[in-house]
């Protein structure tokens, strides 16, 4: 096998009535190609030519009645690149010369008597085909990129549209949108050699939609199932086209099976509705009508995250410059007259305004709507409930919330796990629900809100709730929990066991769940975003997952109080400062070797950064001259002692690199107007510096 043969991955088809003759030809061909197929009849071959799109056809004589000009035209029509070699004995050559003369076949060869020439001819054809493919890719590379990008965008919301069609079968607006999308993809696919099969699939899809529009095909559950499979396959084919490769045999078989299903649908579309269904809230359906034709992407341009981060960094630099200018004006205010001072103030005010707006705008660009992220969930609920024979209604609230793209990507994967979990484990079947006095249809609700920099996503169901005993038994059985501890665990500790890797209470492993991978992945993904996952459940009433993720910022700009302690400048985010008070106005106590004071009727621990870290108060001297910053984060409060308050600035926070990343209680640095560096407190980490402060409060 030479280099060209190694690169050659397409089929060679051999048409021969005689199996023995085929075997002798196959031996010659095997040195050139891995994929050789034999056909005994032209009809068989014709069907497979359309599916497998071979590169070379070797057609054996004596001439069959099918070997007409029309037959060869039928062969080459779906596969324009097809190269045909006729073979037979020398006496048969004359009868077939018309095919060669009409360029329907490449040449006539007798491989049995002239195997050397046959071998040479096959090598030539393979080289020619590879050269064609290379040239095609060179010419079409950019066109393929453009097509796949456009097709990906067009098919991005196909599932939602199809599910809407299932909800409202006579929604002509939705059919029209679908039709236009499918028609565009079909047209583009047909113009590219490697996406012909995508074109063929969407041709059938389009035909079926025409029947739906005419009212000749019901958009029943079965119809929508076929449509959804076609949408999946189309997206798969688009992804394959992106790699400039041809689809595998397995995918091609799936596509032709889907094409057959389309044909069956056309014969009888009035199939009964299946049991399971999934719905979106009416408000969402009303909103996503024909007017929502253009997707978010169609109205703009694609910008990489790196580019956006770069804009954010530049905008941060502007703020640093602004702080520098402010500091410069402050230092030189005695040198300027009143008029100049007023102008400088106006100028500072303008820069403030512009930099604030710029930050907000760039932050908003990074956001994607959860509608976009969660669009696959109705489809997942529908599929899972169908598979399990359950009836499920999915309601999504607040999904117009915009979140950072990084969070959206993580949520996309996590929500799949959680929603499947709810449908599989949480919700009962229709009969069980009715016997409990519930509606036969189970409910899953997804709710998204953002509050004070925290994105909260809840996924709740009204199912049977979590069986505490079952979790405990499984945990003990799997050696995850000592048996003697089982009575001492609180509910949330028991539910936490479900997030352990490999933990599952499912008796059977199905394609939906039971392998115990899922919730542990959810938790680790959310933890990576500095978020939390909580599970609440009430027996017989249902369960609720709560995900909380802080809003991330590439360039964090925060109002901060600049403090000084000895030679170190410490920037404390204003949002975490509950109070600033002079120490001479305070009374300090000592409890369990920790210095404390009273704040809002609570006992809080106090100290310098180092004292809070080490709990060593040997250098507790001259405290009256110091200032106390009461830092509050969530339910934790503690007091930080500093020498003085220097300023309040808009701090551009740069995260630490690898060398400083483990400085406890701090999250980065900020450059001040005079070029000095302040270390920025992370309220979350800082409040954990003294875990005992909480206990002090409890004791008090």
């Amino acid at each position: 096998m030479d280099v060209a043969d190694k690169e050659f991955s397409e089929y060679i088809f051999v048409l021969s009535k005689d199996q023995e003759v085929f075997k002798s030809i196959e031996i010659l061909l095997r040195s050139h190609a891995k994929k050789v197929r034999h056909f005994s009849t032209p009809e068989e071959m014709l069907v497979e030519v359309r599916k497998k799109r071979p590169a070379i056809l070797i057609v054996g004589l004596p001439a069959d009645p099918f070997l007409s000009v029309e037959f060869f035209e039928q062969l080459t029509k779906p596969v324009p690149h097809l190269k045909t070699v006729l073979w037979g004995t020398a006496s048969e050559q004359e009868a077939t010369s018309k095919f060669v003369e009409n360029k329907l076949a490449e040449s006539f060869i007798d491989p049995t008597s002239d195997s050397k020439n046959f071998d040479k001819k096959i090598s030539e054809l393979i080289e020619k085909r590879i050269a064609e493919k290379r040239a095609d890719l060179l010419d079409m590379g950019e066109i393929i990129d453009l097509f796949t990008e456009e097709a990906t965008q067009l098919f991005g919301d196909l599932d939602q549209l199809l599910l809407q069609l299932e909800q409202i079968p006579l929604n002509v607006g939705v059919v029209d949108i679908l039709f236009r999308k499918i028609h565009s993809v079909k047209g583009g696919a047909n113009s590219i050699s490697i996406t012909q099969i995508l074109g063929a699939l969407n041709h059938e899809f389009e035909s079926a939609l025409t029947l739906v529009k005419k009212g000749e095909l019901l958009s029943s559950s079965d119809t929508i199932n076929v449509f959804l499979v076609a949408a999946d396959l189309s997206r798969k084919l688009i992804e394959i086209a992106k790699t400039k490769e041809e689809p595998s045999d397995e995918i091609v078989d799936q596509v032709f099976k889907c094409i057959d299903n389309f044909k069956d649908l056309k014969k009888d579309g009035n199939l009964p509705h299946s049991e399971a269904q999934s719905t979106q809230p009416t408000a969402v359906l009303a909103k996503d009508g024909a007017s929502n034709e253009k997707s978010q992407e169609e109205n703009g341009v694609w910008v990489s995250n790196e580019k956006l981060d770069s804009f954010m960094r530049l905008s941060g630099e502007l703020i640093v410059l602004k702080n520098y200018f402010r500091s410069f004006c402050k230092d030189n205010q005695h040198r300027v007259d009143e008029s100049m001072s007023r102008k400088l103030n106006d100028f500072t005010h303008s820069i403030n305004k512009i930099s604030d707006n710029q930050q907000a705008e760039i932050m908003s660009v990074r956001k994607v709507s959860l509608d976009h992220t969660f669009k696959k969930l109705p489809r997942i609920v529908r599929q899972t409930s169908q598979d399990l024979g359950k009836k499920v209604k999915l309601v999504m609230i607040g999904t117009d919330l915009g979140v950072d793209k990084t969070i959206a990507n993580v949520l996309s994967a996590c929500m799949t796990h959680m929603v499947r979990n709810c449908v599989d484990h949480g919700l009962e079947g229709p009969h069980e629900r009715e016997s409990c006095g519930k509606s036969h249809e189970g409910n899953v609700e997804i709710r998204a809100v953002e509050d004070r920099g925290i994105i909260q996503i809840t996924v709740s169901d009204d199912g049977r709730g979590i069986d505490r005993q079952r979790i405990l038994n499984k945990a003990i059985q799997n050696g995850l929990l000592p048996a003697e501890k089982k009575d001492s665990l609180r509910d949330h500790e028991i539910f936490d066991l479900l997030f352990l890797p490999g933990f599952s209470t499912a008796e059977k492993i199905t394609n939906i769940s039971g392998r115990g991978v899922g919730l542990d992945v959810v938790r680790s993904e959310i933890l990576n975003l500095n978020g939390t996952v909580r599970l609440d459940s009430e027996s017989g009433k249902g369960s609720r997952f709560t995900l909380e993720i802080p809003v991330p910022k590439t360039v964090v700009v925060e109002q901060a109080v600049i403090t000084k302690y000895m030679d170190t400048l410490i920037a404390v985010p204003l949002s975490a400062v509950a109070k600033i008070v002079s120490c001479k106005d305070l009374t300090f106590n000592e409890m369990n070797h920790i210095k404390t004071t009273q704040f809002n009727d609570k006992t809080i621990s106090v100290g310098t950064y180092s004292q809070l870290m080490s709990r060593n108060y040997d250098d507790w001297l001259d405290v009256d001259s110091k200032t106390l910053l009461v830092l509050s984060h969530k339910d934790k409060t503690l007091g930080l002692l500093v020498d003085s308050i220097q300023d309040q600035i808009e701090a551009v926070i740069r995260p630490f690199g690898a060398l400083m990343k483990n400085l406890p209680g701090f999250k980065g640095t900020t450059v001040l107007g005079d070029d000095s560096i302040a270390y920025v407190v992370s309220p979350e980490d800082f409040s954990n510096l003294d875990q005992r402060s909480e206990k002090c409060a409890e004791v008090a």
Binding site: Y565, T608, N616, M660, N662, I677
Partner: protein, 170 residues
Amino acid sequence: MEKTIDQSGPDSQIGLSEEKFLFCQDRKNLLAIPVEQIVEVVLSSRISALPKKTKHLIGATNLRGEVLPVLDIDSLLEESSANETSVQRKYAVILSISGEKFALQIERVRRIVSLNQSCFSGENTADFAHGSTMVSRIAKTKDGNVLILDLNHTLKLSNTLNTSNGAGDE
């Protein structure tokens, strides 16, 4: 064999097996830093002290708006600075290792020297470097023994911040 590269000296004089180092002087030590790890050498500017003293870091410095951690060379070389006379480190060598940029303050920067394998002695580095793991090799040159700094280790130091026996902020 040792070659000194003056500013006009062509690099072609250097053999293929040779390595280039920046020779620096700090206290009594003659140090060599691999040139490929050096971004630039600047005059030292203000160092902002860390809230908590750590073993190998003395603070951060602002290099044209970029905040860089500053390594403590005394600590890297396991020198006991307390007993020595104070030293004025006028220069900062800016290094970049695995994409991580940081500064190393140095008393004097001497010149770039090319060393080949024959310069490196097989002597135990611990005898010269007070047991410092930052010194990978000793080179014998006409100036005396030179400690070759292995600053790849510095990145491993990032894990020492939590575990270091820093005495607090005093």
